[in-house]
């Protein structure tokens, strides 16, 4: 395989770019680290790490309520970040951007407010058969409390949604749909625009779990016309503990608050509370200020590299890796959608994923093994004990894939 050919489309120098990621430059078990667990969380460029430090060294202060200069500066940085997120996903107003802990909290917020208010006995909610637990269990809980029904869009063996089936599931009883944009286990990029437009012909609101989309695909909530969307900072080259819930203003206005306390109020007496305007109504208590502020730096990083360049680079890595993996006897790649991001789940005949992962780790190669928080998909749909998953980020290289392939050969040698 000729590396130059693989790299010819890349408009940035990945070897130079890697220097922006201090964590990558280390030995694990005596070997240089190969970090292929990016779908779990990706690594942070120095600009993001520095922005956290800068926040705490210069403007740290509580937001919104203070009139002193530091509080003004912290508030400005926090609100600028909201505006940056708005732009990043092309939302119309920054009052439609709610800061949350992560995608999981965003789904729970929607289920506990919109769901608890508007889902009734006998209603149906649709998710797909490839949801992450975070976009499955909240709806399981809601439907079981409401005596509503949870239905699953089936998937093909290749890991694609069966769209005809989906359309035939639509009817007046369906009151909400929540679907993953990009599967964290299969890499499948789902046709969410088509789902949304089909749903809207029945006036059904759609929630998009974009946790695996934000670092790879340009999200455009206006073009998608989705009603809700969520992603996590820590999967988007940003910090842990911060994420985004986007929702159309009309839904946010209808929804009761999720948490109660400081910031989300306009007027409080012992007897009664009047809630604040959007977006503050949904941000009770001191938020993760430094998290929000440094998420803006992560978005700057992505914008600077260009999402298209990042996607092209990862797609090259995907093709290269799949080709080389298919050379290995007994290799089964789980998830072969036509449209996928740089995520490869696999299992080698006769070798348990845990064994594969353990040996790769000893070679300094970080992969994920198990259910990847999609246990029903792995166990019930694919009838597997788990898979090994590799997933790429902007800083991964073909040489790392080569080391991974060498590692797989060692795994086979040791375990068969």
């Amino acid at each position: 395989m000729n590396i130059d050919i693989v790299n010819e489309n890349i408009s940035f120098d990945v070897y130079k770019l890697r220097k922006e990621f201090p964590l990558l430059d280390q030995q694990i078990n005596g070997c240089p680290l190969v970090y292929f667990d990016n779908a779990a969380t990706n690594q942070k460029p120095l600009s993001v790490i520095n922005s956290i430090r800068e926040y705490y060294e210069t403007i740290n202060s509580n937001v919104h309520r203070g009139i002193h200069t530091l509080s003004e500066r912290a508030t400005e940085a926090y609100e600028n970040s909201r505006e940056k997120v708005r732009e990043f996903i092309s939302a119309s107003g920054s009052n439609e951007i709610i800061f949350v802990r992560g995608t999981t909290e965003a789904v729970n917020l929607a289920a506990s407010t919109y769901g608890m208010q508007f889902i009734n006995e006998g209603d149906e909610i649709i998710v797909s058969a490839m949801e992450h637990h975070s976009n499955l269990v909240p709806w399981q809980n809601l439907t079981s409390r409401k005596k509503a029904l949870l239905k699953f869009i089936p998937i093909t063996d290749n890991g694609e949604l069966v769209m005809d089936e989906f359309k035939s599931m639509l009817n007046e009883k369906v009151k909400f749909i929540s679907v993953v944009y990009v599967s964290n286990t299969l890499g499948t990029i789902n046709p969410v625009k088509e789902i949304i437009s089909a749903a809207h012909s029945y006036n059904i609101p759609v929630f998009i779990d974009a946790a695996q989309a934000s670092p790879h695909i340009k999200i455009d909530v206006k073009e998608l016309d989705c009603d809700f969307l969520a992603f996590s900072g820590h999967k988007t080259y940003g910090p842990t503990g911060i994420g985004i819930l986007y929702a159309k203003e009309k839904y946010l206005d209808l929804m009761p608050p999720y948490q109660f306390g400081g910031e989300m109020i306009k007027n409080v007496s012992y007897e009664h509370t009047e809630y604040n305007n959007l977006p503050f109504k949904f941000e009770a208590g001191t938020p993760n200020i430094s998290g929000a502020v440094s998420l803006a730096s992560a978005i700057d990083f992505i914008n600077e590299k260009g999402l298209l360049n990042i996607a092209r680079h990862e797609s090259d890595l995907l093709k290269y890796a799949e080709n080389r993996m298919n050379e290995i006897e007994g290799m089964n790649i789980i998830g072969n959608a036509k449209n996928k991001t740089g995520v490869i789940s696999f299992i080698i005949n006769g070798i348990h994923p845990y064994d594969t992962g353990s040996i790769l780790d000893n070679l300094g190669i970080a992969v994920r093994t198990g259910f990847h928080c999609t246990q029903p998909l792995i166990e019930q749909r694919y009838n597997l004990p788990g898979t090994v998953r590799i997933s790429f980020a902007v800083y991964n290289t073909v040489e790392e894939i080569d080391r991974f392939i060498d590692g797989l050969h060692k795994v086979k040698k040791m375990l068969s």
Binding site: R65, I67, S71, E72, T75, E76, K266
Partner: protein, 144 residues
């Protein structure tokens, strides 16, 4: 034409503020102005005339006379009163449409902006909105 009226007053204020070379002078002047604010009737100090979004209480009312709007206001904080009094000096006595079009740029130019960033500016913006809302009401009246 009274659009230049607004611009002229803004220019006047900018010139006055140029005389001060520190914030103390400016604040003292604002506080003086606050003391001369045309006050709203006590019985109008209710929800309808209250401006939300300020740390201090603010009430604003407008009287419409012969095509011109005249503002009165009050606040429990002196600096706030001074700032409203600047706003009133610029906007009061003008036609609704002119008020609607005013960009209020003088606030940046007198060097108060840096002392009036987001949280406080929210209050400032809320006051300007309230005044423009009155202008909107009477501007529509004109059209009908």
């Amino acid at each position: 034409m009274s659009e230049s009226n607004i611009k002229n007053t803004e220019k006047e204020i900018i010139d006055e503020f140029e005389l001060f070379n520190d914030w103390i002078g400016k604040y003292e002047y604002i506080i003086e102005l606050g003391k001369k604010l045309p006050l709203i009737d006590e019985n109008l100090k209710n929800e309808n005339y209250e401006v939300k979004g300020c740390q201090s209480k603010v009430w604003i009312n407008a009287d419409y006379k012969d095509g011109y709007l005249f503002f009165k206001a009050d606040s429990d904080a002196l600096i706030t009163k001074g700032i409203i009094s600047l706003l009133i000096r610029v906007l009061s006595g003008n036609k609704p449409d002119e008020i609607l079009n005013a960009d209020m740029n003088f606030i940046n130019e007198i060097g108060l902006k840096e002392h009036l960033s987001p949280n406080r500016a929210n209050g400032l913006n809320a006051m300007i909105s309230k005044m423009k809302n009155f202008a909107m009401v009477y501007s529509n009246q004109n059209v009908n």
